[in-house]
Amino acid sequence: MENYLSLFETYDVPAAFWVNIQLSFWAAIFALVIGTVLALFRISPIPSLQWFGAAYVNIFRNTPLTIILAFGFLGLFSVMQISLASDLNASLFRIAILGLALYHAAFVCEAIRSGVNTVPLGQAEAARAIGLSFLPAARLIILPQAFRGAIAPLGNVLIALIKNSTVAAAGSVATESSGLMKTMIEFRSDLVVPIFLTFALGFVILVIPIGLLTTWASRRLAVAR
């Protein structure tokens, strides 16, 4: 037991989780913005935008996240020498956020589209009947209802995003939790199972409340019909 507790003096486990939370937070915001724009593209009347939205979703949804994040490090950072901050680690961190956001934006787009499908036909027809064109109808009538209908799928995307933030290890973000777990196990191979259970429990604690919260919110905020 003392052995186990001494781990927490040597290694800063909460700091590693904090890195994952920060990665997830920023990636979630960017993914929500990009995904909403993509969803608007896909339901817009303009064919080139529809095509762009569909192509984006199909490409990013079918590419392994590992490749995207490894590309961020090996391609963007090493070969293209793109750095998003003056500091090396901050730059890798931001590139990982970019990769996570681009990947999950495809799933956000599909979640919002499924939300749009919960809006009854009559709402769109009524919006047109009072003379709203596409953008005002989307902004005032369709999207507010669609977001409320999309809470559950968006929550699932957020949960996936938090778990996937561990893949940032492929983008050389060394401070996040999967990297720290690997280091800890390598140095303390006598405590393999307790170390793993600690990290697993950390994610269970992060993820399960979000699942419960989004389920509750999706019921609470669902448009009564």
Partner: protein, 289 residues
């Protein structure tokens, strides 16, 4: 986009002009972005012929891409079989009539779905490697398969459960009426129908397994990404190599996703189940995953 577009009216002359204008602007922006990316790549010499000619040589495919692809498909293939088995066992466990079995299966599934696959992979890799239970060179493959099985098996267990819950109650009642026990009716009547109903979602889950097998890259499993990175480092063409690897994944996964959509259309009349009552969708549904 053949289905009805209900979000906007059939365009009149003015709307048609706006759409045409929007179309032109959209294409111009897309072309501009593409040109910007290509010029950035060209600026670093990534578009030079020497970067791409390795992909025309047979040795690149023979020694790098195909062995990597074989390993990826091997890990994904084994995981698909074991995950389906795991999912069936725990899915039926969650539906079991005995409360303790239900509770155990339920908590196992919930916890495994909340733990990142990568953490499980790293754990099994290091634990198996240091325990000496398996040959060190086998540890990465086993870790990939076990982690993918536990996670995706749990997701499949949920699919089985929701598939059975989606069946009309009459199916089980009919089973009881002809004298089957609860478990017999589950095994012989409900789960087989649920399997057909969940087939499209199951195929979509195979896409997830195939994508997540690339996580093996992080634990040194020699799958496609690992091999293409080696190729890229050896030939000095990391970006083209990664793009080719991504393209291969996209092709396979796109084929699987298309299959899933086809299946969902094909099988929609094969099961007894609530048909979605139609206030037609606002958006023509494409490849819902």
């Amino acid at each position: 986009m053949s289905a009805q577009q209900v979000l906007f009216d059939a365009p009149g002359p003015r709307a048609r002009r706006i759409i045409l204008l929007g179309n032109i602007v959209g294409v111009l922006i897309a072309v501009a972005v593409l040109a910007w990316i290509l010029s950035a790549l060209a600026g670093k010499g990534q578009l030079a012929a020497s970067m791409w000619t390795p992909f025309l040589e047979s040795r690149t495919w023979e020694f790098f891409i195909l062995p990597g692809l074989v390993n990826t498909l091997k890990a994904a293939g084994i995981s698909i079989v074991t995950a389906v088995l795991f999912g069936l066992i725990f899915g039926v466990g969650r539906l079991s009539h005995s409360a303790p079995i239900r509770a155990v299966a339920g908590s196992v599934v919930e916890v495994l779905r909340a733990v990142p696959v990568l953490l499980m992979m790293i754990f099994f890799w290091l634990a198996l490697g240091s325990s000496g239970a398996v040959k060190p060179q086998d540890a990465p493959l086993i870790a990939v398969v076990v982690a993918l099985t536990l996670y995706n098996g749990s997701v499949i267990a949920e699919l089985v459960r929701s598939g059975v819950h989606g069946l009309p109650r009459g199916q089980r009642e009919a089973g009881m009426a002809i004298g089957l026990t609860r478990n017999q009716s589950l095994r012989n009547i409900e789960v087989p129908q649920a399997l057909i109903a969940m087939l499209p979602a199951l195929v979509s889950q195979f896409v997830v397994i195939l994508k997540d097998s690339a996580l093996g890259f992080i634990i040194t499993y020699p799958e496609l990404l690992q091999f293409t990175r080696r190729l890229g480092v050896g030939e000095g063409n990391v970006i083209p190599s990664l793009l080719v690897a991504a393209a291969i994944f996209i092709l396979i996964n796109f084929a699987l996703s298309t299959l899933a959509t086809r299946l969902s259309v094909l099988l929609s009349f094969r099961t007894k189940g609530r048909k979605p009552v139609a206030p037609g969708p606002l958006v023509p549904e494409a490849a819902a995953t």
